[in-house]
Amino acid sequence: MNSVPLQISYHGLEITLANTERSFITKVWDFFCSLKLTLFLLISLSLTSIIGTVLPQGALPPQYVAEISATKLQIYTKLGFFDMYHSWWFIALLYVFSLNLVSCSIKRLPHVFKFVSEPTLVLGEGGRNSFPLKKELAFSGSIDKAKERLSEFLGKEFSAPVVTEHNGEYHLFAQKAAWSRLGVYVVHFSILVIFVGAIIGSLVGYKGFVAIVEGTSVNSFENKNGQQMPLGFEVLCEKFTASFYDTGAPKEFKSILTVLENGKPVPGYSQVKVIVNQPMTYKGITFYQSSYGQASEGGMHYVTVASRNGGTPEKITVQEGVPVTLKDGTIFKLLEATQEVRQFAPGFSGPAARIEVTRKGAAPQIFIAFKDFPEVNAQRGDALIFGYEGSNAKQYTGLQVAKDPGVWVVWLGCTLMIVGLCIAFFMSHKRVWVVVSKGQAHMYGNASKNQAAFQMQFEEISEKFQHLKI
């Protein structure tokens, strides 16, 4: 199309509307198809992503807010820096990225399909000179016989050729793995598939948390906004146990869960062991072991008090934090207790409590009373020896709750990406032409990847080629 620059005069300014509307669209299209834009986007995405790894994301810790200046806080908040991966500009970058990917594929795929489905059967002069791999063979037989022999030879050594007659010459064309040219597009497509999976997850999936006290059940969970959402069934926590290595490092956090429908255990979902790295899924909802603790309400602790002079120890039932006055006027208070002390006091194990003892007229003393180490208990306190016998307080298990119907789409995309990368990098479209003319034949070769490996194969074939008797 021929477009004449349009000149208009406006307040003495010469404005040139150089191109027509059509070429404007072409320009926009070319912009979205360009690899320069791809590079710009990839580099922008890497640079901007750094922000979110340096600044806190989500709910800001109070000490951070206290440290940062008010203007900075305001600007960062305006720019969405505290939730940057969901900010409008980051999402916009991802949209342009997808657009770039789609337009680039739309522009190139037809060419690639054509290249694969309609290969160059006849090798012109240009092609002959541009391929670095070539070999020559002289023969004395007829050209038709040579064509037959060479076709058969190529079919056996490489792949069956297509024969075309052109200007009194025969062009034999054979290729392998032409479809490997599509590997790159599989990779690009897979990125879009992953995006689709992520979008499905964010639209219909949800995440939340539930705490279940041992021996009780729940039928709802708390979502991210703090609202209670129904599960549609009940989950009963039969038992929770935490175990530790001798060093005090945690070894296993284990919940035994049972799913109930209409108050009855569901077959196959009774007494299920859930540990970190081993979740339980029921009706598409998955429960992950994530925390635990002591249920605070109503727990009673058992403390023993014995006189250093002997006599039977007295067993006292106390509540956490509530002071108790003994007969001799000593006041004591259980500050906190744990059923497994190893993580706090390496070298010890079992239940233990921190207690505060105030003798009449003396300063308060704080020490730890153990269940399983009476000899250690005996070293503490003065006239009275305190021991800890455990508690009837229940533990609760904290479970992460999640449902994500898009996750399978994401895994499908990931699989496609790996397959596509392997095709794009490790497979090669190999082509061989043999041009047979009178008394001589020329062989040419080209590979889309790993030229060096193909060269060896080419040399090998052409070695045999030259020993053909025609």
Partner: protein, 283 residues
């Protein structure tokens, strides 16, 4: 014999290999180059034995697990994969001189691990008790090692262009004549990244799969995850730069160096400077 002694031998061997490679650079004596390679291979064999022995020792202690669970073990594995990939490139492409630019990375890792870190075998905490740990660590570190090799090669490329100028039709003599031609370096850089990129991709995917299995979220934009994505973006930029006019050669080599710097930050910087979910290097 303990694995710890063998790791010390490994470190020492890599040191010797590096010195011999530097002597090779200075003297251009072929036999020195060969010696440098063989010493590095010997180190690789000792290190392989040491890793196997440490694995067995953990079982003897009753806390059996693959030796890839903390910063020390991961650095040792990283060094091992670097030398393994160097061996592959040395044997396959016969550009021995690359050793002078790659073995130092492995030595640095081993020296830091042996001298500056707690080498004790620790039991696995619940979060790490998963086979995904193995798949994730192996794929990530093989990828990182390929990027280390690519970075060494790109460094050679940049040195060579700086010395010879942009006019590569008049190759400089001397030291530069030992370097492979620019075109070969460019090609090797690409090949190393062609190995590393799918492995990094697989590393990110196995990490996401594991996170999904353990926490119910395959992606949470935690700093470690984000940095691995940044590294992935940089190498994706590298791959596209190579097919874009005006970005081939020097700029692509720079992208490869920047990519490796980002890799190292992803591996160490995130743990040492930023906070997140990953447990390596917390203490």
């Amino acid at each position: 014999m303990t694995s710890s002694m063998l790791f010390n031998v490994t470190t020492f061997t890599y040191l010797i290999s590096m010195i011999v490679f530097f002597a090779f650079l200075a003297s251009r004596s072929k036999s020195l180059g060969m010696a440098g390679s063989y010493i590095a291979y010997a180190g690789l064999i000792v290190q392989t034995a040491a890793i196997g022995l440490r694995w067995k020792e953990s079982y003897d202690m009753g806390v059996g697990h693959a030796p890839m669970s903390n910063l020390y073990e991961s650095i040792v594995f990283f060094s091992w994969t670097i030398i393994l990939l160097f061996a592959y490139i040395d044997i396959r492409y016969k550009y021995r001189i690359i050793g002078a630019f790659v073995v130092p990375f492995a030595l640095l890792g081993m020296a830091w691990a042996q001298l500056g870190m707690n080498t004790g075998i620790e039991p696995l905490v619940p979060a790490l008790q998963s086979n995904w740990l193995l798949y994730h660590v192996i794929t990530c570190f093989l990828g990182y090692a390929a990027f280390a090799v690519a970075c060494g090669i790109s460094t050679m490329y940049l040195i060579k262009t700086a010395v010879e100028g942009s006019n590569s039709s008049t190759p400089a003599g001397g030291l530069m004549s030992m370097f492979p031609p620019l075109k070969a370096l460019d090609d090797l850089n690409y090949r190393a990244i062609m190995i590393g990129f799918p492995l990094l991709t697989l590393g990110i995917i196995t990490g996401a799969a594991w996170a999904n299995y353990a926490w119910g979220t395959y992606w949470s934009w935690d700093p470690k995850e984000t940095w691995s994505l940044i590294v992935w973006f940089v190498y994706a930029a590298f791959l596209h730069a190579r097919i874009t006019k005006g970005w081939v050669g020097k700029r692509a080599a720079w992208l490869s160096v920047i990519g490796f710097a980002a890799t190292i930050f992803c591996y160490l910087g995130v743990n040492l400077l930023l906070s997140g979910l990953h447990s390596y290097g917390g203490n």
